[in-house]
């Protein structure tokens, strides 16, 4: 059974209008690579030209921010859910 990746509203137009996409992977980084391989239009919205996750894109494995785990190398298993969520901020 593959890993579920939850796609936020603004990225769905680049992901075949899907809210959940399933990918096979051993790590979070591999899951994101497989995700953009399935949906190449997502790449520039998730990654910079240097291939780094954009600063305003948060990626969680279940309830944990991968920045505080092992980042791309964070192991992922079939029962896990990866959630992508752009930041929400602002002010006057």
């Amino acid at each position: 059974m593959p890993i579920k990746v939850l796609i936020p509203t603004p990225l769905r137009p680049y992901a075949g209008k899907q809210s959940i996409i399933e990918v096979s992977a051993q790590t979070v980084g591999e899951a994101l690579s497989n995700l953009v391989a399935q949906h190449p239009d997502l790449r520039k919205h998730l990654f910079s030209e240097e291939g780094k996750l954009r600063s305003f894109v948060n990626v969680y494995l279940n309830d944990e921010d991968i920045r505080y785990l092992a980042k791309d190398a964070t192991p992922a298993k079939e029962t896990d859910t990866i959630t992508i969520v752009p930041s929400v901020a602002g002010g006057v």
Binding site: D63, V88, G91
Partner: protein
């Protein structure tokens, strides 16, 4: 296209801005997108402002809170359709910071001006384009 919101929810988010004054309030709007591109709000979820360093003129919603709301909304057959925040003693229009920090294209950003502790105007702005071309457009706010 318009953002439709029940009057009670509109009053709820405006009251949130009065409660947190002189600090900014913030929250998530959950509901449905329709085929024509409009949106209907079914829940206005108040969030904490994590910008405790500058809460009078900045807001930020914890990603962990967003993740939880996104997950629970999906289970209930709903979507995140927008966000709201207040501008204490500042107009109900988007600021440069609001634009720089906006990343949810297709979603509504609802702003309430709160003057001397009283909610005054509430306006909605639709974020369109992508990261390179993004901009806000005025959006009709229909309260029923």
């Amino acid at each position: 296209m318009a953002l439709r919101i029940p009057k009670a929810l509109l009053e709820q988010l405006r009251a949130h801005g009065e409660q947190t004054y002189p600090h900014e309030c913030c929250g998530v709007l959950v509901g449905q997108f329709d085929e024509a591109g409009g949106k209907t709000v079914e829940q206005a979820i108040a969030c904490g402002n994590t910008r405790t360093d500058s809460p009078a003129n900045r807001y930020h919603i914890s990603p962990a809170e967003l993740i939880r709301i996104q997950r629970e909304s999906a289970l209930a057959g709903r979507d995140i359709v927008g966000f709201y925040h207040s501008h204490p003693d500042w107009p109900a229009k988007w600021s440069t910071t609001d634009m720089d920090e906006a990343h949810w294209t297709g979603c509504s950003y609802v702003i309430t001006s709160v003057e001397k502790g009283k909610a005054v105007l509430t306006n909605s702005f639709l974020l369109v384009g992508d990261e390179q071309s993004k901009h806000f457009e005025d959006e009709d706010l229909e309260a029923k």
